[in-house]
Structures are given as C-alpha cells and as structure tokens.
C-alpha cells in the first residue's frame, strides 16, 4: 500500500503552520508568523495571534499544497493541534481542519502539540525511535518526558514549576533591552560574551531540592538574579556588559536543562534523548547537548532548528504515525483543549 498522505495544521500560538507528509517524507512545511505584531507588547497577545491565524490560514494552506504539488483529493487524512495552547488560536485550526476533513470525507486526527514536537524527530530518525527521553523546551513549556509510544504512551517525569525556559529568555532579553522574542537575540549576543564571567543560580540543583524536584525546573529565581545583578551595576554606575550577562544567563539555563535530561536518561535506563521545542533551536543548547551526550554515551536527536520551533510538519507527522499504528481517528465535534495534558497524545 502507498504510504498515507497527511496534511497537518498547527495554530496553538503565534505560528500558522501547514505541513504535508507522505508517510515520513516531508513534502511541505509552510509557516506564517505574527511574531512581529507581538514585539511591541513584549509577548504573544492571544487576540492578535488569533486574528492573524484567520488571515494566514488559506494562503498558507494553498502554498503548502503548491509546494508539495498535491491535489487535495489525494489526501488520506487531516491532522490538527487540539492543545495545549491559546484557546482562541487553537480554535481557528481545529475549525479549519474539521471543515477540510468533512469536505473531503477523510479521517481527522486531533493531536497533542507536545507529542507532535516529539514525533517530528521521525522525519529525520525514522519511525521507531522509542523508547526515548524527551526534553521539550519552548516559550510555553519545559518538560522531561518518558516516551514509550509517541501516539499512545508519553509519561511526564518533570516540568517547570514557574517560568518556561523560553519565557525566561524573553524576560531577561527585555531586561537587557533586547527585542522580543528573546531567544534568538540572546543566542546571538551571547556568542560574543564570556559565559563564565557571572555565576548565576541553577534552579533545583541543590542537594536539598534533589529529593523533591530531581527532574523539575525553576527559572524565575534565575530571572530575578539577573535583574538584581543589572540593578546592582546601575546603582554602582558600572557598565552593563550585555554580552557577558546574556552568555552567563544562557549557560545557567543550558546547564540545568542538559544535566536534568541526562539524569532522566540514567534514572529510566534509556539511552536515547530527544530535544525539541523552540528553545532547542538555541545554538549553545545544541552544542552542550552534543558534548555531554557523547560523553555520557547517550544517543542524541535534535531536529533541525526549523522543525524545533512550532510548525505544521510535526502535526502531519504525528497524524501519519497515528495512521501507521492503527490509532482510531478523532470524532467530529471534539473539544479544543488549552490545557491538554501531555499524557493524551491523540484525542
């Protein structure tokens, strides 16, 4: 049998993503983003994102079909992100996906955004990479997961108790006078700074925290430490060395993320680590992960940066895996779920 042709729709935050895969071959991955419209607000404004999704939807769908050079009637299934995410943004995608599935008479797979971030690895690593530990790091999420089957069995091991890692990047960037989104800005400017110049705190790494929060994260203390540090410099009328502060902050985040990810691998006896989500596009995170995984004998997978940030290809991929593994399709009239737990890979 010919491998299934699946179209995926992602609208959980500020990216309108449409991906098309045949089996695990990527045919198109088109993205429209409203990120520039949010910059002057210092963060994603849900209503602005939702309006932008509605405008971008059809042009992005059309472009993806053109790039993939497919006819809609050849599609075997439609997949869509049902959560977690911004409810008004999610609903644009789920409504469009429902319409597409109904118009074409094809099955619909409503999928979990976080599971989709994990599943996208299959485009580069193949269909059967489980079991693995997944570290998902983005502006909205920071989680360590045990993945036995990305379509059916994803178990949380730990997560952030306050800010997401990407959120910490945004907040520290703002403090340093860098534009939104902060991740790419800090990554860029940190490359010219001394990352060992300032010793910022590593959340939940003390002996006391190890017992209760061995695999959890906390970044709000780090963000406050950077703020206090900058305030101290201003009070003493000293120069604010932005590259050094950015590099030292980034090093603290990366250090904790990788240390805990490797601890999860050891604890679960799993020798494969996947890192996904927008922060996985960070160049320092990628290079530290490579170094330490090699040292620890852990097989590392990090999708290329374009597949780490939000996209439609990951949604199509999870839909394709769901079909390949004979998972039931989603009944029409399902609810979009802003707080969808990671344990629910498919709806």
């Amino acid at each position: 049998m010919k491998e299934p042709l699946v179209l995926g729709i992602e609208t959980s935050c500020d990216e309108t993503g449409i991906g098309i895969v045949r089996g695990l071959t990527l045919l198109a991955d088109e993205i429209a983003t409203s990120v520039d419209e949010h910059a002057r607000f210092g963060g994603v404004v849900p209503e602005i994102a939702s309006r932008a999704h509605l405008e971008a939807l059809l042009p992005t769908l059309q472009k993806a079909c053109d790039v993939a050079n497919i006819k809609l009637r050849d599609l075997d299934a439609v997949a869509v992100t049902a959560g977690p995410g911004l409810v008004g943004a999610l609903l644009v995608g789920t409504s469009a996906a429902s319409a597409l599935a109904l118009a074409l008479g094809r099955p619909l797979y409503a999928v979990n955004h976080l599971a989709a971030h994990i599943s996208v690895d299959a485009l580069e690593s193949g269909a059967h990479t489980e079991p693995m530990i997944a570290l998902l790091v983005s502006g909205g999420h920071t989680s360590l997961l045990r993945v036995s089957d990305v379509t059916a069995d994803v178990q949380p091991l730990g997560s952030t108790l306050d800010d997401a890692a990407g959120e910490a990047f945004d907040k520290v960037a703002r403090l340093l006078g860098l534009p939104f989104p902060g991740g790419p800005e800090i990554d860029r400017i940190a490359s010219t700074g001394d990352r060992s110049s300032i010793s910022f705190p590593r959340g939940f790494t003390s002996a006391k925290d190890q017992a209760a929060h061995s695999l959890d994260f906390s970044f709000s203390g780090l963000k406050t430490a950077v703020a206090r540090y900058v305030e101290g410099l201003i009070r003493e009328k000293r120069v604010v060395d932005v590259p050094a502060i950015a590099a030292s902050f980034q090093e603290a985040v990366v250090d904790v993320l990788i240390e805990k990810a490797l601890r999860a691998c050891a604890q679960e006896g799993i020798d494969r680590l996947l890192i996904g989500g927008g922060v996985a596009a960070n160049s320092r995170l990628r290079s530290v992960a490579r170094e330490r995984c090699e040292h620890a004998g852990i097989q590392l997978a990090i999708p290329r940066p374009g597949l780490c940030t939000d996209n439609g290809a990951m949604v199509a991929t999870l839909g394709s895996l769901a079909m390949a593994r004979d998972r039931p399709a989603t009944a029409l009239g399902f609810a979009s779920s802003p707080g969808l737990p990671v344990t629910k890979a498919l709806i």
Partner: protein
C-alpha cells in the same frame, strides 16, 4: 436543478446551521451555548449534509458578525476552508441583517424603521438601524444602550441585546437569535446580485493589549 447552499452562523450564543435548496430551507439545526461553537459546528454541518455529498454544494454563506471574536472566527475559518477545499464560493453576510430578514418575513416592517441589537458583552450591544424595507442605515456599531438616543431606543428592536437590556429597549421584539436559514437567503441574494463577496469578520473592536515601554529604565 438543485442549488444547494450551506449556511452557518456562530456570531451569537447560538450555533446555527442550515442547508438550503435555492430559497427553500431543507433543514436548519441549532445549538445553544456561549462557548462550544467549535464542538457544535462540525457536528451540525455533518448533520445537515447527511443526505447530500459535499460536492453537490454550490456555495457556503457565513455570518460575519458583528459578534464575539472567537465564535466569529470559528464560523469563518470553517466556511472559508470548506469552500476552498470544494472550490466553491463563500459569501459573508452581516449577522444583524439576518435578524432583520427574519423580522420582516419577506414583508414590510409593520411599524416602519426598526433596529437590531445583539449582546456584545461588557454592557454593550452590536447595533444597527433598518428602514421598513429592511435596508440597513449605515454600518453596525458596538455601543452602550445608554448612549443611544431615546428616539432610536424606542424603535422596535430585535435580537438578544434588546432582550438583555429591555429597560433601555422598551420595544424589544422577536426573533432573539439569527437563523442560518436567513444567512442562506441573504447569501443567495448577494451571490445572484453579483455583489462583492467578502468574509472579513466584523470585529468592531480592537484587541485589548497595552504596548510595553520601549526599553528598560537603565537604557533610557
């Protein structure tokens, strides 16, 4: 020959879906609920389309509000995508016009000018005035009932907003909710009248968001 048109409206607390064959309404189904348009709409559309193939549809008409943002987008995203997939026309219809259409019932307004008011939350209504032929007098607005002149408040007023603020709208009359059947009839009129077909949502309000200070204090 049949002329099938799918009509939907999600601009009020009612999700309304109808299948028309020309001016004749074959079936209309409704579901109540301020939230839940996203769950209701696909099921209701599947229900009205159960006896025809989607390929038989000639066009889709959709209420473009004004109405609460999330509901509006659910209907418009659905209508646009389905029409795109089927390569048929999609027609936007002002939701208040559909209420006016049902009030007239193909006749003349019994007491001359009238108004339509739907609930805009935050103590406001989406509101427009119509003449006795059902021609809208200007663009719809979002307004506090207290800011409408006494003369216009006394007009017969249809819609959920008139009922909700019945102290202001002393002459509130039925219907309370727009019907997809009326959206469909008005959709056909636009389609056959060669009017420009736009499905831009009538938000009437800007997003609530406050820009940040441009830079941190130490840089200023």
């Amino acid at each position: 020959m049949s002329r099938y048109l799918l009509a939907i409206d999600t601009a009020t607390t009612r999700t309304s879906v109808a299948l028309l064959d020309g001016p004749h309404t074959m079936v209309e189904v409704n579901r109540e609920g301020a939230t839940g348009h996203g769950e209701a709409l696909p099921s209701l559309v599947a229900e009205v389309l159960q006896n025809i193939s989607t390929n038989q549809l000639e066009a889709i008409a959709v209420g473009i509000g004004p109405g609460p943002f999330t509901g509006l987008r659910i209907g418009i995203a659905f209508a646009r995508t389905m029409a795109w997939a089927l390569e048929i026309k999609v027609i936007g219809v002002c939701t208040l016009d559909a209420l006016a259409f049902d009030y007239l019932k193909d006749g003349l307004a019994p007491f001359g000018d009238f108004a339509v008011a739907t609930d805009a939350r935050r103590k406001e209504v989406y509101w427009a005035v119509y003449d006795r032929h059902g021609i809208r007098q200007g663009e719809p607005v979002v307004v506090r009932p207290g800011n409408i002149s006494d003369r216009l408040l006394r007009l017969p007023t249809v819609g959920s907003g008139a009922l909700l603020y019945s102290n202001d709208f002393s002459a509130n009359v039925e219907p309370i909710y727009p019907s997809a059947a009326a959206i469909g009839r008005l959709g056909f009129a636009k389609l056959d009248g060669g009017e420009e077909l736009t499905t831009e949502p009538l938000y009437l309000r800007r997003p609530d968001a406050v820009p940040l200070m441009s830079s941190p204090e130490w840089l200023r």
